[in-house]
C-alpha cells in the first residue's frame, strides 16, 4: 500500500538517474567506476558533416572582345594587359588622344561622352596637348531603392560582398547598368575612382558634374593648385574655407597648372570623415614634362598603365597604380538601409560615429582577394624594372610587404627622396593618404629578387588580409613572373584549390577553411543524438518530479 504511493516518484528518480550522462558524473565518481570496471566502451565521436557542394564562380572570365591584347587604336599603342581582366583598350586610346579627337567608332567603343576628356592646344610646342579638360561625375554603387531589396548598380568587391560605395566616375554615356535586367554596374563604373594622369605644366581643368544626390567637392591633395582660380572663385574644394559644395545636379570647375611632378591624391572634402571613406578618392599623378608625351589621362580601376608616359618608359618596363582602401561595413551599409536622402544624410553624418569605427573590408584597386588576382597582379619578366605608384586611402595604415623581392622607395608624397634615404626594404608603412613610388627590380640576385615564381604582396597587418575577418581575403595580390602565368592570364598556382574562395558562402563564414584539400578532416562535427535524447528524458523526468513535489506539498 505504502510502496504503491511512493512508486511514481521513485520511478522518476530512477529514470533521471539512468538518463544522466555518465560523462558528467563528478570526476571522483568516475575514477571509482574506473577502478571497478575500467574505461567505458568505445563510443565514436559524431561524424563530420560535409557542407553542401559549392558552385564556385569562374576564376578567370573569358575575354571575347580581345581587350587583353596589345593593339593600336587611333595611333595609340595600347600595351597588352596580361591579367585575365583588362581595361577597355578603346577607352585607353580615347583618353590618350582626347575624346574630342577620336572617331565616332572609338568613342562609342570607349563608352565615354565626347567631352569626357578634352585635349586642346600644344602650348609649349613640344608635340603634345597641354590644355586638358577632364569631366568627372559621382556614382553610387550598391545603393538603396524604393522598390527592391537587392542593392542597385551592383559591384562586388569579392564573391557576394557588395558594400555601398561612392566613386568619382569618368563621364560615360548611356546606362549605369550593364543591362537593365542584370543591374550590374557598367564595366568602367567601379571602385576606385580613376587614377588621373597629367603632365607637369599642363593647363588642367577638372569639372565635377555632381550626378549624385548629396553635395560634393574635389580637393587636390598634394598637387600644386591655387587657392582661387583665375576668376577668383574658390579652387581648393574645402567647404570651410574655399567654396559652397557642388549641389546635386550642379557642376563646378577646378583649375591647376602644376609646377612639380609627383604622385598626388584627390578626394571629396565635404564631410570628409565620411565621404572620403565611401570611395570618393583617387590617385592624381603629375608626370614629368617630355616632348610628344601623350598621357593616359584616366586609368580606370587603377592597375597597369597601358599607355605609359615618356619619362616612365625611359627607365621602366612597366608602370602600375596601386590604390589601397579599407571600408567600414557599419558605414557603407547605411546607404542601403533607406532610400530617403534625408534619412541617409542623418544616418551617415549624425548617427555614424567614426571615432568608434573599425575597418572590415580591405581593397586593392577596388577589389578584395580572390578578385584581386583577376586584375591587380603585377606581371613581369626577369631583369625588368617596374614602377609602382601606391596610395593608402584607408583609415588604418598599410604595412605593404612583398614576398620574394626587396623594393626601393624613390618618392614619398610626390617628392623624390635623396639617394642617401633610399634603401632596399620589404615592408613599407603608408599612413592614411600617404603615397610612395616604388621600384621593383626583377634581377635575380637574392636581394632584389629571389627568382621567378608567384610571390604574394599584401598588407602585413593581419586584418588587411581578411574580408570582414575571413582569410584569405582583403588586399592580397601577387607578383607573377610571366612563365608562371597561363594563356588566359590566370597564375599557374601550385597550391590548394581556390574553389571555396570563389563562393559567397566562404565569406559568409559557412565553409570550413581547409575543406578543399582535407574534406571532412576539419569539417563541422555532426550532433550527438544520444546525448540529446538523454538530456530530454532527464528534463521530462525532473519536470514531472517537480510537479509531484508541488502537488504533495499542497495536499499536506
Amino acid at each position: 500500500m505504502r510502496l504503491r504511493r511512493h512508486l511514481p516518484w521513485l520511478a522518476l528518480v530512477l529514470i533521471a538517474f539512468i538518463a544522466y550522462p555518465p560523462q558528467w558524473y563528478p570526476e571522483s565518481v568516475r575514477m571509482l567506476q574506473t577502478s571497478w570496471f575500467g574505461a567505458a566502451p568505445y563510443h565514436a565521436l559524431p561524424a563530420s558533416t560535409l557542407p553542401a557542394s559549392l558552385a564556385p564562380e569562374v576564376y578567370c572570365p573569358p575575354d571575347p572582345s580581345g581587350w587583353r591584347d596589345a593593339q593600336t587604336i587611333e595611333g595609340v599603342a595600347v600595351r597588352a594587359s596580361p591579367p585575365c581582366v583588362a581595361d577597355n583598350p578603346h577607352l585607353v586610346a580615347a583618353v590618350v588622344r582626347g575624346t574630342n579627337n577620336v572617331s565616332a567608332e572609338t568613342l562609342a567603343n570607349s563608352g565615354l561622352t565626347p567631352d569626357a576628356v578634352e585635349k586642346g592646344r600644344d602650348l609649349d610646342g613640344d608635340g603634345d596637348p597641354d590644355e586638358i579638360h577632364i569631366r568627372l561625375e559621382v556614382a553610387e554603387l550598391n545603393g538603396g531603392s524604393p522598390v527592391r531589396k537587392a542593392p542597385v548598380t551592383r559591384y562586388a568587391i569579392a564573391p557576394g560582398v557588395e558594400p555601398g560605395l561612392w566613386v568619382f566616375a569618368p563621364k560615360l554615356i548611356g546606362m549605369a547598368a550593364e543591362t537593365f535586367e542584370s543591374n550590374e554596374a557598367r564595366y568602367s563604373l567601379r571602385l576606385p575612382s580613376p587614377a588621373i594622369r597629367i603632365e607637369q605644366g599642363d593647363h588642367v581643368v577638372i569639372t565635377l558634374e555632381n550626378t549624385h544626390y548629396m553635395p560634393h567637392t574635389l580637393h587636390l591633395h598634394g598637387a600644386d593648385h591655387g587657392f582661387t582660380d583665375a576668376s577668383g572663385e574658390g579652387n581648393d574644394g574645402v567647404p570651410l574655407t574655399s567654396e559652397v559644395p557642388v549641389m546635386p545636379g550642379g557642376a563646378r570647375s577646378y583649375e591647376l597648372t602644376p609646377r612639380h611632378a609627383g604622385t598626388m591624391f584627390y578626394h571629396c572634402h565635404v564631410q570628409p570623415h565620411v565621404h572620403v571613406q565611401m570611395g570618393l578618392q583617387g590617385l592624381f599623378i603629375v608626370e614629368e614634362n617630355r616632348p610628344d608625351n601623350w598621357l593616359q589621362t584616366l586609368n580606370i580601376g587603377a592597375g597597369l598603365v597601358r599607355a605609359p608616359s615618356k619619362a616612365v618608359s625611359e627607365s621602366y618596363a612597366q608602370e602600375y597604380d596601386l590604390h589601397y582602401l579599407d571600408l567600414d561595413k557599419q558605414l557603407v551599409e547605411r546607404i542601403q538601409a533607406n532610400n530617403d536622402p534625408r534619412l541617409i544624410a542623418q544616418s551617415m553624418h549624425r548617427d555614424y560615429d567614426v571615432t568608434d569605427a573599425t575597418a572590415d573590408y580591405f581593397t586593392l584597386n577596388g577589389r578584395s582577394f580572390p578578385y584581386t588576382f583577376r586584375e591587380s597582379i603585377v606581371v613581369a619578366d626577369q631583369d625588368e624594372r617596374v614602377r609602382l605608384h601606391v596610395v593608402n586611402g584607408g583609415t588604418m595604415g598599410i604595412a605593404l610587404h612583398t614576398h620574394g623581392h626587396k623594393f626601393t622607395v624613390t618618392d614619398r608624397d610626390g617628392v623624390a627622396l635623396p639617394d642617401a634615404a633610399r634603401s632596399l626594404q620589404d615592408v613599407v608603412w603608408l599612413a592614411t593618404a600617404q603615397r610612395v613610388d616604388l621600384v621593383l627590380n626583377f634581377t635575380n640576385d637574392g636581394l632584389h629578387s629571389y627568382g621567378p615564381g608567384i610571390w604574394l604582396f599584401h598588407d602585413h597587418q593581419s586584418r588587411g588580409v581578411t574580408t570582414d575577418g575571413i582569410g584569405p581575403g582583403g588586399n592580397i595580390s601577387a607578383i607573377v613572373y610571366r612563365q608562371y602565368l597561363g594563356e588566359d592570364g590566370w597564375p599557374k598556382n601550385r597550391g590548394v584549390s581556390w574553389d571555396p574562395y570563389f563562393t559567397p558562402q566562404y565569406y559568409r563564414r559557412e565553409v570550413p577553411v581547409w575543406q578543399s584539400y582535407a574534406p571532412g578532416l576539419f569539417a563541422e562535427p555532426g550532433g550527438d543524438r544520444l546525448l540529446l535524447l538523454r538530456l530530454l528524458v532527464l528534463a521530462l523526468s525532473t519536470g514531472a518530479l517537480g510537479a509531484l513535489l508541488v502537488s504533495a506539498s499542497r495536499d499536506r
Binding site: 550593364e178 532610400n339 536622402p341
Partner: protein, 217 residues
C-alpha cells in the same frame, strides 16, 4: 557580359551609320547635346495597322522638379505619360540641370527596339528630341533615368499605353514606394505599448463594473 555590351555598341554604331542613309530608322543619333537611341518614325509594331495619331510632350528634368515632393532629389516635370495604342510619340526632353539626365523607356518589343528600350539622353542644360511608336496593347511601361541612383531618388515614371496595366510602384506623385521608411517618432514603441495598456485597463474596469451591476447581491 562585356562581349554583350560591346556587341550592343557595335549594333548601335552599325545601325547609326545605316540611319545616315535612312534618316528615320532605329539606331543612335549622337551630338554634343546627347543621344537618341532606337528612334522609330515609321515602323509599325505588330498588331498596329496604322499609326493611330501623333502625340508630343515636352518633359523637363532636374532638381527643381523634385522640390515639391519631400524625400527625392531629382525629378521630371511629368512623371506619367498617357498615350493611345499605336500612337507615334515625340518627346522633347529638356535638361535644366548641369549634369546628364535620361528619359528611357523599357520593355518595348525587341524586334523594333534593341534591348527593348527607347532612350533619350541630354547633357547638362541641353535638350534632345526623339520619336517612337508604341505597341497596340494596353500596358504600363517603366520610364527612368539610368544614371546611378537617379531613378531611386526621383526620376522614375510610367508610360501608360491605352488603359495601361496598373500603376508601377514608386512613381513620384502617382504611386507609393514599395519599401517605405516608417517615419514615426523614436518613442513610438513606448507610445504603442502604453496605448495598449490603457485599453486593457479601461476594458477590465468596464467589465468589472458591468459584472457588479449584473450580480444580484
Amino acid at each position: 557580359m562585356r562581349a554583350r555590351a560591346a556587341s550592343l555598341w557595335l549594333l548601335v554604331v552599325l545601325a547609326g551609320s545605316a540611319s545616315a542613309q535612312h534618316e528615320h530608322h532605329a539606331g543612335m543619333r549622337m551630338d554634343s547635346g546627347g543621344i537618341v537611341m532606337n528612334a522609330n518614325h515609321d515602323r509599325l509594331p505588330r498588331g498596329c495597322d496604322a499609326i493611330s495619331g501623333d502625340v508630343a510632350f515636352t518633359i523637363h528634368a532636374g532638381r527643381e522638379y523634385a522640390a515639391e515632393r519631400p524625400g527625392i532629389i531629382f525629378g521630371m516635370s511629368q512623371h506619367e505619360v498617357r498615350v493611345p495604342p499605336c500612337s507615334r510619340v515625340t518627346v522633347r526632353f529638356v535638361n535644366d540641370d548641369e549634369v546628364r539626365h535620361q528619359w528611357m523607356v523599357h520593355g518595348l518589343p525587341k524586334y523594333l527596339y534593341p534591348a527593348g528600350m527607347f532612350h533619350i539622353e541630354a547633357m547638362g542644360q541641353r535638350e534632345m528630341t526623339g520619336t517612337f511608336i508604341v505597341p497596340p496593347e494596353d500596358r504600363t511601361y517603366l520610364i527612368h533615368c539610368d544614371i546611378a541612383q537617379h531613378m531611386e531618388k526621383g526620376m522614375r515614371g510610367q508610360l501608360v499605353v491605352g488603359a495601361g496595366s496598373g500603376d508601377l510602384w514608386g512613381v513620384p506623385g502617382v504611386s507609393d514606394a514599395f519599401y517605405r521608411a516608417s517615419y514615426v517618432p523614436a518613442m513610438a514603441g513606448v507610445l504603442v505599448v502604453s496605448a495598449a495598456l490603457c485599453a486593457f485597463a479601461a476594458v477590465t474596469a468596464w467589465r468589472r463594473r458591468a459584472r457588479r451591476r449584473g450580480s444580484p447581491g
